[in-house]
């Protein structure tokens, strides 16, 4: 079969601006080669900074934000598109090669109707007339499972959900009938229950239109469902390249093996779960007095154990943490800590009460003052709660850095000089410095690459085993929950729909929502998506 896309020895460079130093030229992709045939899907996978998006955009001969293609060739149907020049490339983009961005919400123009944006490229290139383009858009809306395909195009971007928007964007890419589509993490920003629909829609649309695709993602389980081949990338280099089955079932390289096995942390569930450290009784909470986000929440965190709170965005799980910290006083109900009622407002709590409950944030970047060194960040709670100063403080900070497996060499670094995982570790050290009873973890690993996230989870588990810490762990990732939880609370639309020990919550009979949630989590094996879809169809036929 003829090669549709042939990338040979692609080199991509950029200019880096290290703070306080003159700009430097750096290479971000070091000679990557691959081929893609008509109607096939190649998955590009790697952690952030691996160069996967950059390679994807190179298929459109495009370099984002100062990125330059410095060497190699990108051949589309045998023609080197890097040598085409402005007019030639414009003719290819949006007609023969299309792009689906990660954040559809940011990629659509909010001032125009979806339909007009979907057919724009086809009209611009003159591939279709307006009425033909509308017909095709309607057909694609149908294929992608969008509601009411005939009138969907009349809506504005803010009138549809995130998952629908992502599918509309896929329709936009498919409308001109391209030979190749570049999907740049199309489901990363979506909830799992939405992700599965979008994945299924994309897969179906690719099958029906026989379009070739580059599918970029950091989630191996996702890419296994849609791709024919997978290329694993790291630091701009190719690590492994082969058919899906071989990569998933028989990876050759160490790095790929780590990626495949990353979800296999296991923690046995604690047998005795009655002694509650934090008890939340009948809590209702509302923002600005009207908008109610929590309805009658009853859960407890057993001492020395982990309660995982799981749910999709908007389910109220972060709000629950805000209620416990006292940032948002509940409108009804009470929070009890060590059998004593906690004052609802954090301002009314004693220093001792504040010390015992610490917080870990999703974005470690914004959780640390960028103008303070690690010494100041970790040292402040030591001075504030325990009055440690000078030598004593430095010694304790060094101890804490040892404890989080970083070593005292980092003591005078600024947050900007740390990697994502190191930042989160410093945040953990800051929480530990207060010697708390419980740490509220608000998605501490969801902004991190899988291997780094696994390291953080292992660290948290080790600390729990050593110091009897309790965690309230908020996450949307079921795999994380399976790995670390003793008990689980499933939240949906501000209510706890299921709460209990892990073994109970994760075994049938399920309520509808938990069932949907569990079945939507991509599994790292071939054919998972088809299986789920088949069962779903059978169920809906049965009802």
């Amino acid at each position: 079969m003829a090669e549709l896309l042939e990338v040979r020895d692609l080199k991509i460079g950029a200019t880096a601006y290290p703070p306080g130093e003159p700009p430097q030229d750096i290479t971000i992709v070091h000679g990557v080669s691959f081929t893609l045939q008509k109607g096939r899907v190649l998955g590009l996978i790697g952690e952030s900074g691996a160069g996967k998006s950059t390679i994807g955009l190179a298929a459109l001969a495009y370099g984002r934000g100062g990125v330059r293609i410095t060497g190699g060739e990108v051949r589309l149907d045998g023609e080197d598109i890097l040598a085409l020049g402005g007019r030639g490339i414009r003719d290819i983009r949006g007609r023969r090669v299309c792009y689906v961005a990660q954040s559809a919400a940011a990629a659509f123009n909010p001032a125009h109707r979806l339909g007009d944006q979907v057919i724009e490229a086809a009209l611009r290139h003159g591939t279709l007339t307006r009425s033909e383009a509308w017909e095709r858009a309607k057909y694609l809306f149908g294929v992608l499972g969008l509601p009411d395909p005939d009138s969907f195009g009349q809506r504005y971007p803010h009138q549809v959900s995130g998952g629908q928007l992502q599918r509309a964007m896929t329709a936009m890419a498919l409308c001109p009938g391209p030979e190749l589509i570049v999907f740049d993490e199309p489901t990363t920003a979506l909830d799992v229950t939405t992700q599965i629909d979008v994945l299924a829609a994309i897969k179906r649309a690719i099958d029906e239109t026989h379009t070739a695709a580059l599918y970029i993602t950091h989630d191996l389980a996702v890419v296994a469902q849609v791709s024919d081949d997978i290329m694993v990338l790291r630091h701009g280099n190719m690590v492994e390249y082969g058919p899906v089955q071989q990569i998933i079932e028989a990876p050759q390289e160490d790095y790929t093996r780590q990626l495949v096995s990353v979800r296999q942390i296991q923690k046995p569930e604690a047998p005795e779960q009655s002694g509650a450290l934090i008890r939340i009784d009948g809590v209702d909470a509302a923002y600005s007095g009207h908008f109610k986000v929590l309805h009658d929440v009853n859960v407890h965190v057993p001492r020395g154990q982990t309660l995982a709170v799981v749910g999709e965005s908007g389910s109220g799980k972060s709000t629950l943490a805000r209620v416990i910290t006292g940032l948002l006083p509940p409108s009804k109900g009470a929070v009890t800590f060590k059998d004593k009622a906690l004052p609802p407002r954090f301002a009314d709590r004693s220093k001792e009460q504040l010390r015992q409950i610490q917080m870990l944030y999703q974005m470690a970047d914004t959780a640390m003052n960028p103008r303070q060194t690690v010494r100041d960040i970790v040292g402040r709670p030591l001075t504030f709660y325990f009055g440690l100063r000078g030598q004593e403080k430095t010694k304790r900070v060094a101890e804490l850095l040892e404890q989080i497996e970083m070593g005292k060499g980092f003591i005078d670094r600024y947050p900007a000089e740390l990697s994502g995982g190191q930042k989160q570790r410093v945040c953990i050290a800051r929480a530990l410095a207060a010697e708390p009873e419980v740490i509220l973890c608000d998605e501490p690993t969801s902004a991190l690459d899988p291997l780094v996230a696994a390291g953080i989870l292992k660290l948290l588990m080790r600390l729990q085993a050593e110091t009897q810490l309790s965690y309230l762990f908020i996450t949307h990732d079921i795999a994380t929950v399976r790995a670390i939880a003793d008990s689980i609370a499933v939240m949906y639309q501000g209510r706890v729909v299921r709460f209990g020990p892990k073994s109970q919550v994760l075994s049938p009979p399920f309520d509808d929502y938990t069932d949907l949630l569990l079945k939507s989590v991509p599994e790292m094996r071939l054919g998972w998506l088809e299986e789920v879809l088949t069962t779903r169809r059978m169920q809906s036929a049965g009802h």
């Binding site: 601006y17 940032l327 944030y361 959780a367 640390m368 003052n369 207060a434």
Partner: protein, 275 residues
């Protein structure tokens, strides 16, 4: 920071500012004549003993310019520092406290800003006794309203960050949050604003002096020298233009440095500026 990365314009600005400060500090030693000394005929042309000629009373213009730098820079600097202390303190309090404190302070600030500054200053200075510290205080209060605006905007961006929330949850007091968590992160934009405000203070002081309500004669200050010599322009004598050029030069120099600082700030925030 690398010195080579500093652009030429910033160097020019810094050199100009250094020259002005040098004149101000060493005025008694470098000025060829005394500040109030009548040395010759009025409005003598440039050259000879009097490098820039003499003024409307026969005083050496260069000497008055050098002494004038002293007054002008001192008053403008004092007023700007005071304006920043007040503006930053109040605006950060408003941003951190929020609610009624914020509303109260912000609305009073709006009220102050709605009165034209020059008219406000003229009325107040006409009523109050003509003393240097009152002049400084009036300029400072008027400038602080502008500082308040920018300070509140910058601080609001920082107060919603999670590290401030973390500090609150730790139980830190408001002053700690203002000085340790927020101030260091707003320093760059505030520093740039400081340069700008300083230039405006120089201009404002000169305007007041020109109108006769600023520095009182016989003390020299740049705006005052322009006023003293303005009648000479009718006779084609450039004595009034020289202090005017000094004011413009200092303002431009300060702005050159500020522009560079702003660029650096932009690149600190993760933008890909050319700073």
């Amino acid at each position: 920071m690398r010195w080579r990365a500093v652009p030429l314009s910033a160097w020019i600005g810094m050199a100009g500012m250094a020259l002005a400060v040098f004149c101000a500090v060493f005025a008694p030693w470098i000025a060829p004549f005394g500040e109030r000394e009548v040395v010759g005929d009025i409005w003598l042309p440039m050259g000879g003993d009097y490098l820039l000629g003499t003024d409307n009373l026969g005083r050496d213009l260069l000497s008055r310019l050098i002494y004038g730098a002293q007054t002008t820079i001192f008053v403008a600097l004092a007023a700007t520092v005071l304006a920043f202390c007040m503006g930053v303190m109040l605006s950060f309090t408003a941003a951190v406290a929020g609610g009624w404190t914020d509303q109260g302070l912000s609305r009073v600030n709006d009220l102050m800003m709605s009165i034209p500054t020059l008219i406000f200053a003229l009325i107040v200075l006409a009523v109050l006794p003509q003393e240097l510290w009152i002049l400084i205080a009036v300029i400072a209060v008027l400038e602080s309203t502008r500082v308040f605006r920018i300070g509140r905007a910058v601080a609001l961006d920082i107060t919603v960050m999670e590290f401030v929330e973390a500090a609150r949850l730790r139980g830190e007091r408001r002053l700690w949050i203002i000085f340790r968590e927020i101030l260091p992160n707003t320093l760059s934009p505030l520093l740039a604003e400081f340069g700008l405000r300083f230039a405006f203070s120089v201009l404002f002081l000169s305007t007041l002096s020109f109108l006769g309500l600023g520095i009182q004669p016989p003390e020299a200050d740049w705006g005052g020298i322009v006023k003293d010599n303005k009648d000479g322009i009718i006779f084609g004598i450039p004595a009034a233009l020289i202090p005017g050029a000094a004011i413009a030069g200092l303002a431009i120099c300060v702005n050159l440095v500020v522009d560079w600082l702003l660029n650096r700030t932009a690149s600190l925030k993760g933008g890909r500026g050319d700073g």
